[in-house]
């Protein structure tokens, strides 16, 4: 693990170096042995902030760290003096006192004053964090086990909607391949926002509670199924910012990162343009008749993004919780039952219904893939129209 270690932001500024320096000194002092190490991997304070709110939080944390450090030193300086000089082994005789009202009032009042002093910046920062009014664009993030879905509600990209899935290959996770720079913090399609614009995030979930978090923005909010939460950020520096799901959400909780790309207004416009074109192109003709090989090729992608986490890329699954598909009764049985379980899920198990997340073509493709991959060589084509007919049965 060298100096090339990836940080969340990949960018440094002198200002933040200074900030890191001050807290760094203090923390390093506490840690003692590690004080000399100046490596990016030895980050010992909050990530470099890129929003005004995150900077305020950063400064508040720095202030608090100093306050508690000074309190700690002050209190234990007294204790240390006592430990050194009031020893029995040095012949010190115990004094006999056990009450002193003045002192006791003092050490109730002084901490109270300190608390009031730090409550002021803590309050103003919090009020600012919660002000979601007047956004430039609104994006809804929906938590799924275990990926994020983004939908642009307002702004130029209104209507753009896609899933954002961990892009780190299984081989890296299983230590069969060297790990990339953004190991576990990379997705196939990041959320893209323009720089300097107030982005309001709406959060909800389709299954369990997730938490959408980007430390560089000081944003962290639960996504609760059936309810809407909102938060906001205004990133003032371009870059790629990474966070992770921050509420235990089951098996792959550690494998659903949040990646936000902050780009210039022009790049954003170009991106929106591209997305709209892609959407138009992807609006599959439902009556198109697919050939087996093109369907399977598409199905493999859908499988990797949606199914491989549990059923594994090799189709062997992780029994007993996650059954294998290679040679399974479902995958080699009647296709109707197979379609049903993909569309509706299997109640009482971790198998969710994909009917709402995936279109007819994707479901047809992934089922066709599962019925033709590994040893399941059924040679069967499934057309989107069959999926449509199957929905709801």
């Amino acid at each position: 693990m060298g100096g090339e270690m990836a940080r969340y932001t990949n960018k440094n500024s002198d200002v933040s170096r200074l900030r890191h320096g001050s807290v760094g000194l203090l923390m390093a002092g506490l840690l003692g042995t590690l004080s000399g190490v100046a490596n990016a991997a030895w980050e010992i304070s909050l990530q470099e902030p890129v929003t005004a709110v995150a900077r305020r939080v950063y400064d508040l944390h720095t202030l608090l760290t100093w306050v508690i450090f000074i309190i700690f030193i002050g209190v234990f300086a007294v204790a240390t003096y006592s430990i050194i000089f009031h020893r029995k082994s040095k012949g010190h005789k115990a004094a006999d006192f056990h009450d002193n009202t003045t002192v006791e009032i003092a050490w109730t009042v002084v901490p109270t004053l300190i608390l009031i002093a730090i409550a002021v910046p803590a309050t103003t920062t919090l009020v600012e964090m919660r002000d979601t009014s007047q956004p430039d664009l609104t994006i809804k993030a929906t938590g799924y086990q275990w990926k994020w879905g983004y939908e642009y509600i307002t702004g130029d990209a209104a209507g753009v909607k896609y899933m954002s899935v961990l892009a780190t290959p299984r081989d890296q996770i299983e230590n069969k391949a060297p790990k990339g720079a953004n190991y576990l913090l990379e997705v196939d399609r990041p959320m893209v926002v323009p720089v300097g614009k107030k982005v309001r995030m709406l959060l909800t979930s389709s299954d369990v509670i997730h938490n959408w978090s980007v430390p560089a923005f000081a944003v962290k909010a639960d996504a609760v199924p059936g309810f809407l939460r909102d938060t906001w950020f205004r990133a003032d520096k371009e870059g790629t910012y990474r966070g992770q799901c921050s509420e235990l959400c089951g098996k792959d909780h550690g494998f659903m990162p949040v990646v936000v790309e902050v780009v210039s207004t022009e790049k954003y416009a170009a991106w929106v343009e591209g997305q709209k074109k892609e959407m138009a192109a992807a609006a599959d003709d439902p009556s198109k008749v697919w050939k087996l090989d093109e369907l399977v090729a598409r199905g493999e992608k859908v499988y990797t993004a949606n199914c491989a986490a549990c059923h594994q890329p090799n189709g062997k699954g992780l029994p007993p919780a996650f059954p294998g598909l290679d040679g399974s009764k479902i995958a080699k049985g009647p296709k109707e039952a197979h379609l049903d379980i993909v569309i509706k899920g299997k109640p009482g198990t971790a198998m969710a219904g994909y009917g709402a997340q995936l279109g007819d073509t994707d479901i047809a493709a992934v089922v066709a893939y599962e019925r033709n991959a590994w040893t399941n060589k059924l040679g069967e084509v499934i057309q989107p129209a069959e999926v449509k007919a199957r929905r709801g049965k």
């Binding site: 209190v75 509420e247 550690g254």
Partner: protein, 537 residues
């Protein structure tokens, strides 16, 4: 009320039971003697401590390096859940109930606990609960993998292991409630003549408040998990939006129990330290009255701060502000206690035997945990740190360093009274220093991991977290292995060693030091005369 009458008999002159209680295994199954039951609680908690500790080493082992090495993510989640449940309900709480059983009757000059048979029952509920918890690993689908907080809807998805966990929690709750009734009644009704509440040893005070916290908060937890159970199997939807419920409601109820639970663990620890520090400072405890008020204040405030665990769940701004201020308020009585302990040492005549070392270790580490708690109380900062390793570091400083170190201080302090032998001082000191050093190696770097943004409860992590995780794992294994020293120390002290006097520590005060070491099977069958000079304050 059978138990009451029985207690009244043992309480005064239950002559026929003297001398011929059953022997062998039946002695332990049927015993109603507070010392026997205290010992069983302590052994039980130590066994559970080793089980929970082994689980934590599985967790730390997996986190040694990035990538999935040894366990699957599902199993990892089960380990972190069981580790927490076992440590909280199986190790720390029973340890302090064990201390209470052994020491409270001796401290207040009572012959036994008020309800001796119920005492037996509240202990013997624990092993079945522990078996349920451990057995849940082996049912289809494995143990609950939800974290000890059991949040729905994730806990609704879990398999049968979740149901076993819910039953275990019910049983543990019943045991705690019975234990608390017993302890509170003993303290209120069975003190030696002349020992007023404000002359009572501080350990009794902490347990009096803890007992009330337990009986008020355990039913809340029982209710929460019962609602979980009916949501899982009987079609209710307390916690599901589909039926008009709200998953966040569970979090409110859970933490309404969960925050007092933190002090249920911490207060008796404060009590032990309040005995050890004056004894080795050869001085009276400074500010006894303010200590008592601080304990009561902490107990009371603990019921009004629960939502500081929920700053990111979407509670309204006014709620965040209120809970922030209320949480900051707890710092004041906690600060008072720390200042009192340090002033107790001031101009004393200090010596540093193992109990004192552990008490000082407690003081340093608990203060660090308390101060990071102050940082976390600030909602704006907490939003950055919620569910990161900073929180993990914070509560391990409070729980391990706070409760465990204090329990060790108590163990070494009272071991001569229990066994009649002095423990091996060298081994004790080795145990302290290795625990102290490895604890900090294991947990201090976790502050940095949390600040850098590493979420908790993940089995694998990004590469920039690798170095601190490696250090932390090394520290955790060192800490884990150090704990085996306790077994050696205790076995040596049980088997032999220097004879302990009835008051092995020259600075120790209290009725418990007026009986011989080892303490006879029956003590204070006649209420002793209480000498105010032996009073704590």
């Amino acid at each position: 009320m059978q138990a009451t009458q029985h207690a009244a008999h043992t309480g005064n002159h239950d002559d026929e039971s003297h001398g011929h209680h059953p022997t062998g295994l039946m002695r332990w199954v049927t015993t109603t003697n507070h010392k026997d039951i205290g010992s069983m609680y302590l052994w039980f908690s130590f066994i559970m401590f080793l089980v929970g500790g082994a689980m934590s080493l599985i967790i730390r082992g997996e986190l040694l390096a990035p990538g999935l090495q040894y366990v699957s993510p599902e199993f990892y989640n089960q380990m972190l859940t069981l580790h927490a449940l076992i440590m909280v309900f199986g190790a720390i709480m029973p340890a302090f109930v064990g201390f209470a059983n052994w020491m409270i009757p001796m401290m207040i000059g009572a012959p036994d606990m008020a309800f001796a048979r119920m005492n037996n029952w509240s202990f013997w509920l624990l092993p079945p609960a522990a078996i349920l918890l451990v057995a849940s690993m082996f049912v289809p689908g494995g143990a609950a993998g939800t974290g000890w907080t059991l949040y729905p809807p994730l806990s609704i998805q879990m398999g049968m292991g979740m149901d076993l966990t819910i039953f275990a929690v019910h049983i543990l709750g019943m045991s705690s409630i019975m234990g608390s009734i017993n302890i509170i009644t003993t303290i209120l009704n069975m003190r030696a003549p002349g020992m007023t509440l404000m002359k009572m040893p501080l350990f009794c005070w902490t347990w009096l408040v803890t007992g009330f916290l337990l009986i008020a908060s355990m039913p809340i937890l029982a209710g929460a998990v019962t609602m979980l159970l009916t949501d899982r199997h009987f079609g209710t939807s307390f916690f599901s939006a589909a039926g008009g419920g709200d998953p966040v409601l569970f979090q409110h109820i859970f933490w309404f129990f969960g925050h007092p639970e933190v002090y249920i663990i911490a207060l008796p620890a404060f009590g032990v330290v309040s005995h050890v520090i004056p004894a080795f400072s050869r001085k009276h405890l400074f500010g006894y009255t303010s200590m008592v008020y601080a304990i009561a204040a902490i107990g009371l405030i603990s019921f009004f701060v629960w939502a500081h665990h929920m700053y990111v769940t979407g509670i309204p701004l006014t709620g965040q502000l209120y809970f922030m201020y209320a949480t900051m308020l707890i710092a004041i009585p906690t600060g008072v206690k720390v200042f009192n302990w340090i002033t107790t040492m001031w101009r004393g005549s200090l010596s540093f035997e193992t109990p004192m070392l552990f008490a000082l270790g407690f003081l340093v580490l608990f203060t660090i945990g308390g101060l990071t708690g102050l940082v976390l109380a600030m909602t704006a900062v907490d939003i950055q740190l919620q569910d990161t390793y900073y929180v993990v570091a914070h509560f391990h400083y409070v729980m391990v360093a706070g409760a465990l170190f204090s329990a060790y201080a108590g163990l070494y302090f009272w071991l001569p009274k229990w066994t009649g032998h002095m423990y091996h001082e060298g081994l004790g000191k080795l145990h302290f220093w290795s625990s102290m050093i490895f604890f900090n190696i294991a947990f201090f770097p976790q502050h940095f991991l949390g600040l850098a943004g590493m979420p908790r409860r993940i089995p694998d992590y990004a590469q920039q977290f690798a170095d601190f995780n490696l250090i932390s794992t090394v520290g955790a294994f060192g800490f884990g292995i150090s704990q085996l020293l306790v077994l050696v120390v205790v076995f040596k002290a049980v088997k032999g060693g220097a004879k302990a006097e009835s008051r092995p520590w020259d600075g120790a005060h209290g009725l418990e030091w007026t009986v011989p070491s080892p303490a006879p099977y029956h003590t204070f069958e006649e209420p002793p005369a209480f000498d105010p000079a032996e009073a704590h304050a």
